[in-house]
């Protein structure tokens, strides 16, 4: 959806002529190409994408059961001492760090 808005907006911008200096046509206060850029390519996805994200968050992005599973993994790591909770960073204790490489 975002890609369609962006590609459509860029295509429209390329096709629209430069404004006539003597009698400029304005769309919402801007020449047509500028209006497509600001309102279409700029503002529409600016608001569309975050709203889509919020509406789909619980189903697609972070489900409650996923978060629960992550917390179980963290608890399991705590139990076997593999890295959670993080070592107190202010303490004089070496961080095992990532593996070799």
């Amino acid at each position: 959806m975002l890609a369609v808005v962006l590609l459509g907006g860029f295509a429209a911008m390329l096709l629209l002529p430069l404004p006539d200096p003597d009698e400029p046509v304005l769309w919402l206060g801007l020449p047509p190409g500028a209006a497509v850029l600001v309102y279409g390519v700029g503002l529409l996805p600016f608001f569309l994408a975050p709203i889509s994200y919020a509406l789909t968050f619980d189903e697609w992005t972070l489900r409650e059961e996923d978060l629960e599973r992550v917390r179980q993994m963290a608890a399991e790591r705590d139990r076997v001492g593999e890295g959670r909770p993080p070592p107190p960073l202010g303490a004089a204790k070496a961080d095992p760090g990532p593996g070799s490489g």
Binding site: L18, G29, P31, L43, F46, Y53, V70, G90, K93
Partner: protein, 508 residues
């Protein structure tokens, strides 16, 4: 950009003197510094561990994180350099800002959840920690840390230079005193309160700037007779100004879009704030809030650039000797002095908040990431983090004051270096199980080397890319290519690169 902004502001027009001669501007500027100091003291009392110092105790609320991310992204450029660039090259400059529409959504979709969940299962504190954990590689960890340190030093020196000039514009005490006063203020609260102080000064200044931006935009519309009247006046005198590319070549406008659109995915001082969010479920509202914040702050960028152009073509304002005077000239000429004072002080505060974010990730790179990469023990991080903060601040301020050459050279890297080194390895790597350690190392080495080479060649006027393509854009594309090609060639090693718990998070 901010560098030229400040230097021109100081040298060319006398606007700095005009601002500092206004008692209200001095008073509001002074009040700002007092509030920042109080927040710093408050944060210092709550900073007891390195986790508090580097991650605000992983207990930041959504609104605070949003405002902090917005403030760290914008710096003073949005309020000085952005409107100036708009006045200079027209609508094409807006590609820098429009890329936010893509980058906010993409950053949230691609990185926010995974980084926040990573912080649930691993003791990650920094961006190089995430790179090292993803690839189980100390070399990748170290390369990310080196890239961050180089970029941080450049950003900090440039911002200190600009801060000195803006503080001088407010208080009129001379550049050198202003530079060290500004640096000393940042140093005090960054050392005492770490990122916790930075987060809450960001909240304060971000809220104030959004409100100020809204008011400035109202004065923009009033001064120019409305958007339609301003457009008509500009089109009659300069039709290309409001064409989609403005006076920029389309390639340059698209380079802006690419580098800034993808670049946000690699900005360590912004994305490492995802670790700090108290409740990962609150990420649901992050894009909406940050979009509103960007939109409000962007009104000043767009409005002032447009209004100053319209006022100059109509003869209501003399053409500017340098474009970066657009905001100060408009504020001093067309808004109440109190509003001008808030914006001037807000610019100083915006720069300080950005510097604080940078010095925090830089200090973490010095005391945590480089020792980890070298296999050395990481200890006493809180104390060492404070020492590293002092070291980086003094070094960057010294560069800003004494080495115009070095600061100008370092200033050109910034965002592009972070983008080309971190976007493939981190943003793509946390979303693609086929990414390999060799691919990550190759892409970071390519990004680091090519950015230094191309930007250096352009700086010394040895070679400039044709057709207006930016060095940062070329380096980003090259590092992405290196990443995918090397990952493909080394694909048999992909499974051993990825720990099961991280794979689990990537599949969610």
């Amino acid at each position: 950009m901010l560098l030229t902004s400040g230097v021109r502001l100081q040298e060319a027009s006398g606007l700095a003197e005009a601002a500092s001669s206004q008692p209200i501007i001095v008073a509001v500027g002074g009040a700002y510094f007092v509030v920042v100091g109080i927040i710093g003291l408050w944060a210092a009392r709550r900073t007891r561990t390195a986790e508090d110092f580097f991650l605000a105790g992983r207990a930041v609320g959504l609104v605070a994180m949003t405002l902090a991310a917005m403030s760290a992204t914008f710096s003073g450029f949005a309020f000085i350099g952005g409107p100036g660039l708009f006045y200079q090259v027209g609508l094409g400059s807006f590609f820098l800002f429009l890329s936010a529409a893509v980058s906010i959504a993409m950053t949230t979709w691609v990185l926010a959840k995974r980084m926040r969940l990573l912080a649930e299962i691993r003791p990650v504190v920094t961006i190089p920690d995430a790179v090292g954990a993803r690839y189980r590689s100390r070399l990748a960890h170290g390369l990310a840390a080196v890239s961050i340190l180089v970029g941080v030093l450049g950003y900090m020196a440039t911002n200190f230079l600009a801060l000195g000039i803006v503080v001088d514009a407010i208080f009129g005490i001379g550049f050198e005193w202003s530079l060290w006063l500004g640096m000393g203020t940042v140093l005090a609260y960054a050392t005492a309160g770490g990122i916790l102080a930075g987060i809450y000064t960001d909240v304060f200044q971000g809220l104030l700037m959004m409100v100020a931006s809204l008011f400035v935009f109202a004065f923009v519309l009033d001064s120019g007779g409305g958007l339609g009247a301003m457009s008509t006046a500009i089109v009659a005198a300069d039709p290309a100004f409001l064409s989609p590319w403005g006076h920029l070549p389309p390639q340059t406008a698209f380079s802006f879009f690419l580098v800034f659109g993808l670049g946000l995915l690699g900005q360590p001082h912004v994305i490492h704030k995802f670790y700090m969010l108290r409740d990962p479920r609150r990420l649901k509202w992050f894009p909406i809030l940050v979009t509103l914040a960007f939109f409000l702050a962007g009104l000043l960028w767009f409005g002032v650039g447009l209004a100053v152009k319209a006022l100059t073509v109509e003869g209501a304002m003399a053409p500017l000797e340098n474009p970066d005077d657009a905001t100060p000239a408009f504020l001093l000429g067309f808004t109440p002095v109190t509003l001008a004072a808030v914006v001037f002080a807000g610019v100083a505060a915006a720069i300080m908040s950005t510097v604080n974010s940078f010095v925090n990730v830089g200090a973490a790179a010095l005391v945590r990431d480089l020792p980890t990469a070298l296999g050395l023990p990481v200890k006493n991080e809180l104390f060492r983090g404070r020492v590293a903060t002092v070291f980086l601040c003094v070094l960057a301020a010294g560069i800003a004051q004494f080495s115009g050459f070095l600061v100008a050279f370092l200033a050109i890297f910034g965002l592009g270096l972070f983008a080309s080194t971190l976007v493939p390895a981190l943003a793509v790597g946390l979303n693609w199980e086929g990414a390999t350690r060799a691919g990550a190392v190759a892409s970071m080495a390519t990004g680091l080397g090519l950015t230094l080479l191309l930007e250096g060649a352009a700086f010394f006027e040895l070679y400039t890319l044709p057709q207006g393509v930016t060095a940062s854009g070329a380096a980003l594309v090259a590092s992405l290519l290196a990443f995918f090609v090397v990952c493909r060639l080394s694909r048999s090693s992909a499974p051993e690169t990825l720990d099961p718990d991280i794979r689990e998070i990537m599949r969610m």
